[in-house]
């Protein structure tokens, strides 16, 4: 028996902020005190709050320590583990709490969350199948083995589960198609090619609870009559792949994979395929081509993968998060519980990767129907540095932005689509007044342009032409007709492109024009980028009244464009300035402003 369980977040976010060194320091301290055996150390899955990583949660005390450094470990061991006193200094502190907060019940980031898919993340050792089983794992599979395949499809359909990868197609209906397709050989494919820049939900699920994906796929296999599965995972996710491999080995050892699973006449073989870096492979027909060892190019549908899928056989393709929902629905009494959360048309929860200019970046799982405002202000803690909220991009390069006056929009499939965004895979990137919407549209389009596979003309050529126009606008060379041309091209591409990538890639342009037309017009007609992003369209200027002459900006300037005596207001030489923005990051008085080129008027910071 262990006295306490120490869960150290071993997910990519915390690893990047140094959780390995923290863990090493912790072990060293425990050994120094000779008490290492009393405690169980687990490199756990992600508790979501990446912003304050590295994170350690101590159970059963339920104390959440954050922003840890290796040197904090001596105090943590001595005071908390040995002395039994909570180390207040290392608890969560923030403008949204009055006193240092201990955990779920008191940290606002967690208050509105509902853990379905992330139920085990951070709670179990992701490399232990026993712990997954203790948490009710593989019970849904056991139950599914006693059910008729079509009954499983119907149950998933009735629970209202819709695909979490983008389009939101009802999962149970999809399974039904594959189940009814003729032929003895069928496949289940897990789409873990999470490519949306700014989205990392699927990776966290794979890293934190890999068996949930295996169980979801096995149930899908039972429901569709498939006996082989592929997990197509980005090669950039080495930890996720490693965890999956271990999970597969354990499941084989436990007779949960292989032949005669759980003693039933049901076999299932699981394969992992590593992606090789092509965004378009997230599109299902492209993904199938890639599994077959070909260039990942989409093909027209029909035939749909449910009829003609991988190696020409009927195939069901589900996204990671969709599959992680399955055990919850299919377990005894699960469906009835499941439908209690969410809205009429969108049941259950959705995991979002909250990033950008929001105070609490990280992973959150919220019930469908929650408003954008609640996610950004209650879960996300508002905008970083107290700046002004401008918009949030939902759905990555296939989605759209949602502006401030739609903050009360409920998050569900239909409301988001109506607003010109999509649920997508779940990236929410928050933007403040320092984000230029023209640049944002250009950024997404340059991404999709580069990732366009080149097979169909609308996407290959159309995105190129659109990007040229956006480049021109950002360079200050835009002409008034550009907006109409963009709109025209966008609709043509949407109507005629071959696959989902092409059909959705104009969305960021359309939605930024819809909600931020004035910014485009300002770029085109007034040669001004008020956000200070499009370099030819603004100048930096130091507000002489507020400048204290601290010299921080001058020291940061790589081209020595900032001149001025110590303790005297500084000035920027516009000829030398490259508008790299190093100075603005360093200014403590917030007195570096963005002005129009060649003008003193219309000053904003």
């Amino acid at each position: 028996m262990y006295e306490k369980h120490i869960m150290i977040c071993g997910a990519t976010g915390c690893l990047s902020s140094g959780s390995t060194k923290v863990s090493e320091a912790l072990i060293e301290e425990l050994e120094k005190h000779g008490i290492k055996d009393k405690y169980r150390l687990v490199m756990s899955g992600c508790p979501g709050f990446c912003e304050v990583g590295p994170i350690i949660v101590i159970y059963p005390d339920e104390v959440f320590y954050c922003r840890l450094k290796p040197k904090d470990m001596a105090e943590l061991v001595e005071n908390h583990l040995v002395g039994g006193e909570i180390v207040e200094r290392l608890l969560y502190k923030g403008p949204d709490v009055e006193a240092p907060a201990r955990f779920y019940d008191t940290i606002p980031f967690y208050a509105k969350q509902k853990f379905n898919v992330l139920r085990n993340s951070g709670v179990i050792d992701p490399e232990s199948i026993d712990e997954y089983i203790m948490r009710g794992g593989y019970r849904a599979l056991s139950r599914a083995m006693e059910m008729e395949p079509q009954a499983i499809c119907d149950e998933v359909k009735d629970a209202g589960l819709r695909g979490r990868g983008g389009a939101g197609f009802p999962t149970g209906v999809k399974w039904g198609f594959t189940n009814k397709a003729p032929g003895p050989k069928k496949y289940i494919v897990c789409n873990a090619d999470e490519g949306d820049p700014g989205a990392f939900m699927d990776r966290s699920i794979l890293e934190g609870d890999p068996h949930a994906i295996l169980e979801g796929m096995l149930i899908a296999g039972r429901a569709c009559g498939a006996d082989e599965g592929y997990i197509y995972c980005r090669a950039e996710y080495p930890l996720a792949i490693d965890r999956l491999k271990k999970a597969i080995e354990q499941a084989k050892e436990y007779a949960l994979l292989g032949d005669n699973i759980l003693g039933y006449d049901f076999n299932f073989k699981m394969n992992i395929k590593e992606g090789a870096g092509a965004f378009v492979c997230g599109e299902e027909t492209a993904l199938l081509a890639s599994i077959e060892g070909k260039r990942g190019m989409p093909r027209p549908r029909p035939p749909f993968p449910a009829q003609v899928g991988v190696f020409g056989k009927p195939t069901t393709i589900n996204n990671v998060e969709t599959l992680a929902n399955i055990p919850l629905i299919v377990k005894e009494g699960g469906a009835a519980e499941y439908v209690k959360v969410g809205t009429e048309g969108s049941k259950g929860t959705k995991v979002f990767a909250l990033a950008g200019k929001v105070r609490n970046t990280g992973l959150c799982e919220v019930p469908m129907g929650i408003t954008i405002e609640e996610v950004i202000y209650d879960v996300g803690g508002g905008i970083k540095g107290g700046r002004e909220f401008k918009a949030v991009q939902a759905g990555g390069p296939s989605g759209g932005c949602i502006p401030a006056d739609l903050l009360d929009l409920p998050i569900d499939y239909d409301s988001l689509t109506k607003a010109g965004a999509i649920m997508g895979s779940g990236g929410l990137v928050v933007m403040d007044d320092r984000t230029c919407m023209v640049d944002l549209a250009r950024y997404f389009l340059s991404f999709t342009q580069k990732e366009s596979c080149g097979k169909c003309t609308p996407c290959r050529e159309g995105t190129k032409r659109m990007l040229e126009i956006l480049d021109r606008i950002a360079e200050g060379e835009g002409i008034p007709e550009d907006l109409e041309t963009l709109d025209n091209l966008a609709h043509n591409i949407k109507d005629s492109a071959l696959c989902g990538l092409g059909q959705t890639c104009p969305n960021p342009v359309l939605s930024t024009i819809r909600y931020f037309r004035h910014e485009y017009e300002e770029h085109i007609n007034e040669n001004f980028c008020r956000s200070g992003i499009c370099k030819p369209l603004f100048n930096y200027k130091i507000d002489a009244e507020n400048c204290t002459g601290c010299t921080a900006c001058a020291r940061a300037c790589a081209v020595d464009a900032i001149k001025g005596e110590k303790k005297e207001p500084h000035e920027i030489d516009q000829e030398l300035c490259t508008r790299c923005g190093s100075c603005i990051d360093k200014c403590r008085q917030d007195c570096i402003m963005i002005t129009r080129v060649g003008s003193e008027a219309d000053v904003s910071n």
Binding site: I133, R135, G137, R139, A255
Partner: protein, 59 residues
């Protein structure tokens, strides 16, 4: 018995080649194929090693 897959005693009939249908339930609530409090305790011991709190186990 260190892992759920290990046999609790000779009476356990579950093998990889001939798995029990109740295996998953048996891990946490077993033994099912025979009655022996000592075997039940072995399962409890595995759980107690890793359960974070009283709500950890979900049946």
């Amino acid at each position: 018995m260190e892992k759920f897959i290990d046999h609790c005693c000779e009476k356990c009939t579950h093998t990889k080649d001939k798995p029990c249908k109740d295996f998953v339930k048996c891990c946490v609530e077993g033994p099912i194929c025979h009655e022996d409090p000592a075997c039940a305790d072995k399962r409890k011991a595995i759980i107690e090693m890793v359960a974070l709190d009283d709500d950890f186990v979900i049946c």
